[in-house]
């Protein structure tokens, strides 16, 4: 049975629709403001309004030549973060529904300034922007750009400050080099200390959005394993495959009605009955009839697949070259294969074999061949033939998809030089989306080259931290809906720790206390039962969940065994290292680990962020977000934030009554 949510064909399309509030201004040739008609920034301002960055003003003026204030820029930044939250997620860790605040926080967040007050128009947006910046760049990140107790929200923002706040979108390794990037890409001109005009800010925002839309932001990273192999986005998935005049013949009318029903999701048995009749008649549009029969949700997927291929047969029987149409027909086959994977492991190879049979009909290097080849390559990747796919991608014309797939799979094999040489040989049109994509790919390649040194930096900082004689942890976390807040004192000399705090269960409106002692050298811990006034002892040398095992691995092991990937960004006085571990790799390793939670089935997300104070080389904070799905259907979502402080005089003795008062040892 075919599932109507066709992710791979339509995801891009749906997203595009959701993200475009209105195109009204462009269409009706009326501008949202009266003072931008002849201004050089008109296009960018109009786009900003359409994307929700700028609100309509009472006097219908945008004032493109006025200086933009810090408050105005931060509000715009907040809207840029919101618009691009899905793409930024590998670095912000924020899940979509929790954009408005971290879900592990107990206290309402606030701004580190005295001159921005709660009950003002700018407060909420600036607070949101500041929260995103905190996750990106560490505690009080906004303070690194605007130091002191006052933000001076109505002061003009300088170009340099604006550039630093946009660092994430450039993926610049250091906030000191962002300015060079931004000017060399002509996002901005002038001096860092010059104030920024409102029109120029609109242009800057336009460039940022274009870069994100061109997939120039971390194009190679495939955080959840869902992105690669990349296939083209298809705009029109329900075409008629023919042109019909105003007064169609009865069979033409029947066909048009059926297509309309499927398009409107009002298709039923009669719809497909009508199409079946047409299929066995002399009705000439066989491509359309079979294509739409492949959408029948009530027939087995095998039958849908037969119709999908019949449509391709009909296409070639027509002998009319329409590469876009062939692309849609191949996308359809690919989509059905994806849906069949759960029941048929061989489906990709089988589909590949069938689809390959058309290759001999078309001439290599034509656009028509590209339409077919991109799906052949995708099927090759999915059936484990990455090498074959790579050579196919490299044979294809220089489409964005070919570029992304080539670089991604070369990088995956560690062939960074080859990937770079491949990219350098491509000369996209100036100011094209492809040029932006190429830049993004090159930038990400350069971060991949730094893996070794970043890994060493992180290992050093963590080792440094472990050598402290004691430290204190302030943590917030959310685990399967349970929210925790705790402080922990760790005595490294005695290998003991004491934790106090509270938590809230998802079904409850009130909190419960929590307290425990851990004795690392004996692998035991004592958890207090506040109701019974007792202490419960348990062993800590087994793993309940897979993330615990991952955490017990050294950074070197994570790289070697789990293909962990690292990104270093410096901001102000902090180094921020983000760690991504592919879920697939964790899953592979889990087969040899005994987990109390039972066998692991999938790891949709595994990200850590480490915040290091550069001067003292100390780990000051850590954020994480893990999701694990177990065979028992248990879904574990775990995210949190910990802040660390050295506490050399930490002494934790486990009190005798805790050890003696122990009950219920298993």
């Amino acid at each position: 049975m075919r599932n109507r949510t066709i992710r791979n064909i339509s995801a891009g399309l749906l997203l595009a629709v959701l993200l475009q509030p209105t195109g009204a201004f462009a269409d009706e040739r009326t501008l949202p403001y009266v003072d931008i008609g002849k201004h050089w920034t008109t296009k960018a301002v109009v786009r900003g309004v359409e994307e929700g960055l700028f609100a309509p003003s009472k006097d219908l003026r945008f004032y493109p030549d006025r200086l933009m204030t810090r408050a105005e820029f931060l509000v715009m930044l907040d809207r840029l973060f919101l618009r691009n939250q899905q793409q930024l997620q590998p670095l912000t860790l924020l899940s979509e529904q929790y954009y408005l605040g971290r879900d592990d926080a107990f206290e309402d967040p606030y701004l580190p300034y005295t001159d921005v007050d709660r009950l003002t128009w700018m407060y909420q947006p600036i607070l949101h922007a500041s929260l995103v910046l905190d996750t990106l760049y560490g505690p009080r990140a906004l303070n690194q750009v605007f130091p002191g107790k006052e933000l001076h929200p109505s002061r003009p923002i300088t170009r340099g400050e604006a550039a630093r706040l946009l660092q994430v979108f450039t993926l610049a390794p250091d906030d000191k080099t962002v300015w060079n990037d931004i000017t060399s890409w002509s996002w901005l001109e002038g001096n860092e200390s010059d104030p920024l005009k409102r029109g120029e800010a609109a242009v800057l925002a336009d460039k940022v959005m274009s870069a994100v839309d061109a997939d120039a932001f971390l194009p190679i990273l495939d955080m959840d394993g869902m992105k690669y192999p990349v296939v083209p986005e298809i705009d029109e998935i329900f075409p008629l495959f023919a042109t019909y005049v105003e007064h169609p013949a009865p069979d033409e009318q029947a066909y048009v009605d059926a297509v309309q029903a499927i398009r409107d999701r009002e298709d039923d048995e009669q719809t497909y009955e009508a199409l079946h009749k047409l299929a066995s008649s002399e009705f000439p549009n066989k491509i359309g009839v079979h294509y739409y029969l492949s959408w029948n949700p009530d027939t087995p997927l095998e039958e849908n697949m037969e119709h999908a291929f019949a449509a391709i047969d009909a296409y070639f029987a027509n002998k009319i070259i329409l590469p876009d149409r062939l692309r849609l027909l191949c996308a359809n086959v690919y989509d059905i294969a994806l849906q069949m994977e759960a029941d048929d492991e061989e489906i990709y190879q089988k589909t590949l074999n069938h689809l390959q049979s058309y290759e001999s009909i078309i001439r290599k290097g034509t656009e028509e061949w590209d339409s077919l080849a991109i799906y052949l390559a995708a099927l090759e990747v999915r059936s484990g033939q990455t090498e074959k796919a790579l050579s196919r991608y490299r044979e294809m014309g220089r489409s964005d998809e070919a570029m992304r797939n080539t670089v991604h799979y070369l990088a995956q094999q560690g062939k960074l030089d080859e990937a770079e040489a491949y990219l350098q040989a491509i000369q996209p049109r100036k100011n094209s989306a492809q040029e932006v994509l190429k830049r993004g790919l090159l930038r990400e390649l350069s971060t991949l080259r730094q893996q070794e040194s970043v890994k060493n930096d992180l290992a050093f900082a963590l080792r440094h931290f472990q050598q402290l004689s004691g430290y204190r942890v302030d943590g917030n976390a959310i685990l399967s809906g349970y929210r925790f807040k705790y402080t922990q004192t760790v005595d490294q000399r005695r290998q003991t720790s004491h934790t106090v705090g509270y938590y809230q269960a998802p079904s409850k409106l009130v909190m419960d206390k929590l307290e425990s002692y851990a004795d690392e050298s004996n692998h035991v811990e004592y958890v207090r039962d506040f109701d019974k006034q007792t202490w419960k002892k348990s062993r800590t040398d087994s793993f309940d969940y897979m993330h615990e095992w991952v955490e017990s691995r050294s950074i070197n092991e994570r790289v070697k065994d789990l293909k962990a990937r690292y990104l270093l960004q410096s901001f102000g006085s902090y180094d921020i290292i983000t760690e991504w571990i592919p879920g697939e790799e964790i899953l592979k390793k889990s087969r040899n680990v005994l987990l109390d939670a039972g066998p692991l089935k999938a790891v949709p997300i595994y990200i850590n962020k480490y915040y290091i104070d550069r001067e003292s080389d100390t780990l000051i904070a850590h954020q994480w977000r893990y999701e694990e799905i177990y065979a028992s259907k248990k879904y574990l979502a775990y995210s949190g934030t910990e802040r660390y402080g050295a506490f050399p005089e930490a002494v934790v003795h486990i009190p005798a009554e805790v050890v003696e008062g122990t009950v219920g040892t298993p």
Binding site: R118, L119, A477, Y482, L509, D512, K513, L514, V527, A597
Partner: protein
Amino acid sequence: MRKLLNTFCLAILLQWPVHGALAVEASSPFAEIEEVMDSLMENHINKPTESQLVQGALKRVSEQIGKRAKATVTPSAEDDTRSEMEYRLREWQTRYGLDAAGLNRTAIEGMLATLDDPHTMLFTKEELRRFQSSVDNEYVGFGFRLRMQENRLMIRDIIPNSPAAAADLRPGDHLLDVDGISLTNKSFEEAFALLKGEEGSEAVLTIYRPSENRTKHLKLRRATLAIPEVSGMPFDGNIGYIRLDTFGSDSAVQFRNQLLSFMQKGQTQHGLILDLRDNGGGYLSAARDIASLFMEEGLLMYMVDRNGVEIETWVHNGQDVGFPVRILVNQGTASASELLSGALRDHGIAKLVGTVTYGKGSAQQVIPLENGDALKITLHEYFTPRHTVVNHVGLAPDIAVKHEIAQVLEALRSLGVTRFELRESGDEVTVNGVDFPVAEPIFHNDAHGIQVHRAVLASLLQDSAIGDTGYASLSSIGKPVKNLAVRKQGPETILTYTLQ
């Protein structure tokens, strides 16, 4: 560290099926009882036990049976578990033919009665709507306020954008009858009972307009009215006055606008009087936002739940005020009002003037139930930043004074005011330019001339020996009163006093 949370959670996860099972049973005839019982046992601050709630439910239901079915059923002391309760209720339901909805409600009321907590209550959808409306100062009515003058009901003022404003109704009109029922010699309460009604319903009002010397009939339709939560006026001499009726969802913004307008005109130069008398509270978030208009940063309160977990609530990103503040409080100042008063006092920002406050130091949350009803449940007790207990005791004022006008006088005096002018006309008294409604007049005219309420005199002259009930003429108080004069001018009686 990670390890701890895991063990911890694993232990809790094992209990999950219990909740799951309850959710599934939503179709049981006693689903609402179950749901309320769970919520109370898990969350209510008094940690009610199962047997306590079961007994309470059975007791109340048996009393109802006694009243309705004239039968005597005695709940057994041995029925103290959930399943025994359900068995008993089912038995009684069949035997006495009780309807399910009524039975659920009665049983829940019985449970709630055992809590010794008047603030935990069950709302139907309609009751919940009304509760929320009252917090947001929304009422159903015509949109005019009345005053009693010489035994006649008069339109005092008309609320903008109300049915009354749309009709030909003016302040000063006399209200003669409602739907043909005469209001002559009727009290305020009786008149109010005749005027109130459902949203959308109509009534014919008969009015008399003295200026035109004619009687008119007006047909008006009752509507939901959003009455401003904040009202403000400056006292003469640049002291602001803000009255807050409730802590509704729009209060903080209205409050900020009023305060900003005062500050721009310099009308808080010598201070601000915040009137929280008879303000029964509202949303905590509104109290926090309003507190942020008085302080840049500071602790607002501590909240403690049944498990002894103490949470601090802070104000951040506010602004400090540069002028002294007095808060008028009385026994009707409750909940969020007490919270705000306590916090501003503990931080040295405000002094409280009036009487001991209500003493509602608990916080509730409204949770929706499966069937559309809602439970308002007490979760926390709160304490002021200095850990002062509010619950059941209230806050004692810094300046204790009982009489409603004397409270205003004391607040003004403590802000350094030396000149007072009180004007009375009808049921309203104007103190240094700001109007206050009064329950009883402060002046009394008879053959002996003008007499003044003793509490007002005692406050002005700072002499408690004068007493606080009844009236006294200036000559009778037994000591020379300089700079104090009372006169009559048209319908007004005016008192002026200048401190030496």
